[in-house]
Amino acid sequence: MKKLLTPEELARDDRFERADMMDRIQDPRNGSEAANRGNGRLRPDRADAPDAARALMHGIFVGEIQALEGAGRTCYDFEVGATGKLDDEEVPFELKLDMARQCWDEARHCEISVKLSEWMGTEIGEFGENAFLFQAACNPDPVLRLTGVNRALEGLAIDVFNTMKEFGDLAGDPVLEFCEDWMLADEVTHVKMGSDWLRKLTVNDKDRQKRALEFQRVVDKLFSFGGFRGEDEESPVHLARRFRELAGFDDAEMEEIAELSREAKSEVEERSRLAREANETASA
């Protein structure tokens, strides 16, 4: 079996539909307000809430599959090195054990998400899948990969699950709230694993730590989806500060993610403005 797969190589059955990032974000079933870039927090009283919630749940489901695949590949892609004498391509035995544990957790999250999707009235393949989440799990440096996956991707999962949990509470859906809370507990564990391994593996290599944190910033900005995840009231997914703190994030790191989200939002708005102007010029 080859090492280091690309997102294009992920195996799926015929129900799954690949979609690029823009198609996925601009799917009108995400909620008409979101499609119009007005976004808005996911609330049960929104007319488009059922579609938006189903789309988000489908996104969680495919995200969990990719998280499962990412953790699995980290079990396989790297060799175990002797403690204290690791090459850059090697990992400690205990890191692999953590990744295997994460595999089990993500497999359960897939099971939970597919059942919740049915519960909410959607089915596999109703929405497109973008494989960009797995991209973070393709980094050939295990420290950068762990930082991108366990701190950025799993950090996003904390924010999303907290949002869904709140939505379940507001919507009077105890099943949704119950399941999201359990998954949230696992994600806090996964992010903490990432924080702990980043600290342990770079304790004597500040340059590598700097590169890992830079990679995390890139991934965090990408995962802000142009302001979809942020701290503005109109952001559908909010930073779950309390749970991120449990997972090892300090205030400065959370403020940085909030700032990255604001930057990402401004950039998307600027791109939209330029596109509108170009269209107006072309049609004039």
Binding site: M1, G72, R73, F93, A100
Partner: protein, 223 residues
């Protein structure tokens, strides 16, 4: 209530554990190191395969089984220092190059259309042989001096049996034509031949020697 000062037998009538065992501390450490290596190679392959299997239920199941074998590897890893091996990496390895070749062949199928080969290697060949090796060890080690290994073997065996059943169900559902029956059988035969050449997953003596008429090996170690 009986008089609490009245002497009792140190081993109650229902407790028939005995001292003799077939394995010395060194032999046990060697086997445990081999178990750890096999469990590691297995959980790495299962984790790697998750992304290459299109069947959703199997993808999720492999993720679950991946952890079972990682946990077994950790049990063996932690047992090694208790067996006087303070550098667990030293004994973590295959019993022979032939065993290594077998495990490489188990992990080899990587294409999307090779789910049958992946599952056959694990659930028709490797796990049955692990059950055999663990059971042999369980039934031959000292039930008193080596109780910690016995406890780990029992935990591992419980997982192995349940995973074996899961794997059999998955394979049964996948194999639907004569051609697929043959594919599964061919791959199983290829791997079984490698194991025969290796003498078992721990090399010759993995499950003792059924043709040895000299007596009970467990009795022989206590002169």
């Amino acid at each position: 209530m009986a008089d609490s000062k009245k002497p009792r037998a140190p081993f109650a009538p229902w407790d028939r554990r005995e001292l003799p065992g077939a394995f010395s501390v060194e032999e046990t450490a060697a086997r445990v190191g081999q178990y750890k290596w096999i469990e590691m190679k297995l959980f790495e392959a299962l984790g790697g395969w998750v992304a290459t299997v299109p069947e959703l239920d199997i993808k999720m199941r492999l993720g679950t089984h991946c952890y079972h074998h990682a946990w077994h590897a950790d049990l063996w890893h932690k047992r090694l220092p208790e067996l006087r091996e303070m550098n667990p990496e030293r004994l973590t390895g295959p019993a022979s190059p032939e065993v290594e070749a077998f495990m490489d062949a188990v992990a080899e199928p990587g294409e999307h259309d090779q789910t049958i080969e992946k599952l056959v290697g694990v659930y028709r060949v490797l796990i049955p042989h692990k059950v055999a090796a663990y059971t042999y060890h369980l039934n031959n080690t000292s039930t008193i001096t080596d109780a910690p290994t016995i406890r780990s073997l029992k935990f591992a065996l419980q997982d192995e049996m349940e995973d074996w059943r899961d794997g059999t169900l998955m394979l049964t559902s996948l194999i639907q034509s004569d051609e697929e029956v043959q594919r599964a059988a061919d791959h199983q035969a290829k791997l079984e031949k490698l194991l025969v050449a290796a003498g078992g997953i721990c090399g010759p003596g993995t499950i003792g020697d059924a043709y040895d008429l000299s007596g009970d090996p467990a009795r022989l170690t206590v002169a």
